[in-house]
């Protein structure tokens, strides 16, 4: 992944940016002709960072093709025949996957951009953490390892748990597995209770600057996550804890998602330009590097023809959780108008939503530490915030663990359809994920994936737009690109988020990301 920015010599602002995905593997052709059930364990390897998402979503697409699941209410709800336990264990795996990814991004990958949020100074007073290496050793590595272990309890190994299969998830919940899982969650909670308030206070103290940096298109998409089988309707009509929806112009209220509005355009991509831009029914990609306008293997997913920002900010914005937090804060500190701070999104909003989502999933025991905004006390602890948002203080993952039917089945029978089409809608830590399968004569005859990172980093997509206007330094050193790197990294790109400057000389700058 490389990013090239053009800089205006007089204003020292970025005037244009190009994001190049420079590796093509072609998964969509590798699954052709195979048994539909074989797609998930292969497509899992699309990403080793959000490693459970492609696997589970491929299974979901196949279950949809087999008529086991559907999306009633215009995609607002989900209906399934797989057991409640399987719905919950997929939520748990998914929640753990997001939690590890967010913790690693916030602390290890984005952390150095912000002098680790002064964590070392704050934590060294109570915990034996005095260097970045210590922080990695005692907070980041254990945090992500607990979540990997949690996935392993339900999926066998991680990265690449391949346990989810059409029809369910094989691990039948026992009180032993549930207790071990709760231990992993509470271990991460202990770390976050030390770390998150410090990160929050650091980011909110710098909100004015970070809130104006890296504005996106102001259009957001969430394909929805965490079907809830614990309501009165059970598995027959599950609402989504983080709903599906789109915001199609800055600052407006979300509207329902419709897959027919999605396209994948390729004018700047290395593919045969005669290909259709349909997502559903699109033909398999044909690489062609002779397109003179192309600079990326990434296609450009669009909704109603427009680029859409996707990720934690989009999810928490569309779910209403983030705006509600904004109302709470506005009632205490009126100088904060609301959240998102920037209706188009910003570095601030992206980082805060990542931390918020982490706390929503893992919960908090911190009832004492006062959170601040712009240096003013909110007189709220993390537990107060969760209570004010009507969210469980033990976090969503633990509520799913507690809702399991112990020792009851977690799989139901599944038969390969001889023909049919299915769609899987899901969210990876860093964006919206769509899988679409077409089955003919019992084999895969077409498969399309819209991968999470492509929403944000596609040619002419949100990241390129967000970079325009970013100030660039004039010292002739790599630190000139610092703020540009913050913008890039705030999107939490797939393939690890390290952005390295390779050439900081002249007015054309090149950053390498992952």
């Amino acid at each position: 992944m490389g990013v090239t920015v053009e800089v205006d010599d007089t204003t020292n602002l970025v005037t244009s940016a190009k994001c190049s995905a420079v590796m093509f593997r072609g998964f969509e052709t590798i699954v052709l002709g195979r048994d539909p059930r074989d797609c998930a364990p292969i497509l899992s390897a699309i990403c080793g960072v959000c490693h459970s998402d492609h696997h589970i979503n491929s299974v979901r697409a196949i279950e949809n093709a087999a008529g086991m699941t559907s999306y009633p209410g215009g995609y607002a709800f989900e209906q399934t025949t797989i057991p409640k336990n399987a719905v919950l264990s997929r939520n748990i795996i998914q929640g753990a996957d997001w939690s590890y990814s967010h913790a690693a991004h916030l602390l290890a990958l984005a952390g150095p951009d912000y002098e680790l949020y002064d964590l070392l100074q704050v934590l060294s007073q109570s915990v034996l953490i005095t260097s970045y290496a210590d922080l990695l050793k005692f907070a980041v590595i254990p945090a992500q390892a607990y979540m990997h272990q949690l996935i392993t309890l339900w999926g066998g190994k991680t990265p690449h748990q391949r346990a989810s299969i059409p029809g369910g998830n094989p691990v039948r919940p026992t009180s032993d597995v549930i207790e071990q899982s709760i231990f992993k969650v509470s271990s991460l909670r202990t770390i976050l209770d030390d770390v998150v308030p410090v990160v929050w206070n650091f980011l909110t103290a710098d909100a004015a600057r970070l809130g104006s940096l890296g504005p996106g298109p102001g259009n957001f998409i969430s394909l929805g996550a965490f079907p809830d089988p614990t309501t009165a309707n059970g598995i027959t009509k599950m609402p989504l804890v983080l709903p599906r929806g789109v915001i199609t112009s800055p600052g407006t209220t979300p509207s329902p998602f419709d897959p027919a509005q999605m396209t994948e355009t390729i004018p700047y991509s290395w593919y045969d330009q005669a290909l259709s831009s349909d997502v559903i029914g699109e033909v398999t990609p044909k690489p062609d590097m002779s397109n003179p306008d192309a600079y990326s293997w990434s296609k450009s997913p669009r909704y109603q023809g427009n680029p859409m920002e996707s990720g934690p900010l989009a999810r928490e914005y569309i779910s209403g959780i983030y705006p509600k937090l904004g109302q709470i804060i506005n009632g205490i500190v009126p100088s904060v108008p609301g959240l998102p701070l920037n209706p188009n999104g910003s570095v601030f909003d992206r980082l805060v939503c990542r931390a918020l989502e982490l706390v929503v999933l893992i919960g908090s025991n911190n009832t004492t530490q006062n959170l601040m905004v712009l240096g003013q006390p909110l007189n709220l602890s993390l537990v107060d915030v969760l209570n004010a948002l009507n969210l469980p203080t033990v976090g969503l993952i633990q509520t799913w663990l507690n809702a399991m039917d112990v020792n009851s089945p977690s799989c139901t029978s599944y038969n390969n359809p001889t023909s049919g089409q299915g769609i899987g809608l899901w969210e990876a830590p860093r964006g919206s994920l769509l899988h679409w399968i077409s089955i003919g004569a019992g084999k895969v005859d077409n498969y399309q994936v819209v991968a999470p990172t492509t929403w944000n980093v596609s040619p002419a997509g949100p990241l390129e737009g967000a970079l325009v206007g970013t100030p660039i330094g004039t010292t002739g050193t790599n630190s000139d690109l610092r703020q540009a790197a913050w913008v890039v990294r705030s999107f939490d790109l797939c393939l690890a988020c390290t952005v390295h400057t390779i050439d900081a000389k002249g007015n054309k700058r090149y950053l390498r990301a992952g």
Binding site: R25, L136, A145, G156, R172, W270, G476, T477, T498, A504
Partner: protein, 386 residues
């Protein structure tokens, strides 16, 4: 106790990988400290993969990665996902990306490949792609940055680095055997490091060490890296795998092995205890120490959780015989007049019969069935010598 040339990998073969990892963790950590002192240079090259093996390394338990890599310090010259931004080097105590501002030849990766920076151990994650995209250059499916305004292909970097390195270690299924990017139907010419180097007529100083698995197991990988960083050659089998970790099948010590011996076969995927053979488990044809060490600090393994072993360390993964994944493997030939159904039915009287079946399976394995199925050339029989 100092590590001797009789490396711990040999011990692992005798005592079991899990035992060695625990018992010798202090020694393994010391190796990384010695590496730092001796400034042994390690480059971690990512090709067509998914970074899953890098993420897997973060799950290393004992020695944990941070201790190891922090001890390695600046000796890791390039490892893209874990390098801090270059402007933040200072005293963060982490890997120094070391970029300078003006001369791209000073970028550590390029300097190692094309300049005079030494490379002792090259780790490759992801498949080399040797194909030429329409309208592109050979290897053009994977570009790894630019040098002096020109795109650099991953395949070219691999050739230059591998020719220079004392040891090449292919970490993960993609680099070891081609893996999923090289699956049937791929357009990119993805293949194993061994194959790609043969095609380019690049010879390596030592046999390429293969650590297959999707992902590679972190503990096995760090033990092996500790060995080659010391300059010790691990004992390898005929296709380059350290015998310490790949000499038994997943099935041999499967947590559900007792069920197999009793003829108790799972009929549904959420059966918590039954043998998964009939559901499609590839444990009997897949070599690896998963059943011994388990994964994620010993938390679990695929055959414990279900639905099965997918064969992710088998040289042919994801193609036959590992797939169709849900198809029962036919390890027992029909002409012996016995199959798994018979064993299930005859469980009560099966003791003698099962011994017989094992003799058969062992014989089949002994004929190198697994390797013959791959269609991928075996690496040289060259055993790295002490």
């Amino acid at each position: 106790m100092d590590l001797k040339r009789r490396d711990f990998l040999k011990l692992a073969g005798v005592l079991g990988a899990g035992f060695v990892i625990t018992a010798y963790s202090a020694d393994i950590k010391r190796v990384f400290a010695q590496v730092q002192a001796q400034t042994v240079h390690l480059v971690w090259l990512q090709l067509a993969g998914d970074s899953g093996c890098s993420i897997s390394m973060l799950q290393a338990y004992n020695p944990d990665l941070v201790s190891s890599v922090v001890d390695l310090g600046v000796s890791v010259d390039f490892w893209s996902p874990f390098m801090t931004p270059d402007y933040e080097l200072g005293n963060l105590g982490w890997i120094n990306a070391g970029y300078t501002t003006e001369d791209t030849s000073q970028v550590p990766l390029f300097n190692a490949a094309y300049g005079d920076a030494p490379v002792d151990v090259l780790v490759v994650e992801g498949s080399p792609q040797v194909g030429t995209p329409p309208g592109g250059v050979p290897g053009g499916y994977c570009m790894v940055g630019q040098m002096n305004g020109q795109g650099v292909t991953g395949y070219d970097l691999l050739q230059k680095l591998a020719a220079k390195a004392t040891y090449v270690v292919s970490v993960g299924q993609c680099s070891a055997f081609g893996g999923i990017p090289a699956g049937k139907g791929n357009l990119t010419g993805a293949t194993s490091v061994t194959n790609a180097l043969q095609m380019a007529a690049v010879t390596t100083m030592n046999t390429v060490v293969n650590m297959p698995g999707c992902p590679a197991h972190p503990d096995w990988t760090l033990v092996t890296l500790a060995s080659v960083l010391q300059g010790f050659a691990p004992d390898l089998d005929s296709i380059g795998r350290p015998t310490a970790f790949y000499s038994e099948t997943i099935h041999d010590r499967c947590p559900r092995r007792g069920a197999y011996d009793k003829g108790d076969f799972a009929a549904v995927f959420d059966d918590p205890t039954g043998c998964l053979w009939k559901l499609g488990c590839k444990g009997p044809i897949t070599y690896g120490a998963c059943s011994l060490t388990h994964w994620n600090s010993g938390t679990g393994t695929c055959t414990l959780a279900g639905p099965m072993c997918w064969g992710c360390m088998h040289p042919s993964f994801p193609d036959p015989p590992t797939s169709p994944f849900f198809q029962e493997i036919e390890l027992v030939p029909a002409f012996f007049g016995i199959n798994v159904n018979d064993i299930a039915i005859g469980a009560a009287v099966a003791a003698v019969g099962i011994i017989g079946v094992h003799a058969v399976t062992k014989e089949i394995r002994g004929r190198g069935k697994e390797e013959d199925d791959t269609g991928k050339p075996e690496s040289a029989e060259k055993r790295a010598s002490n």
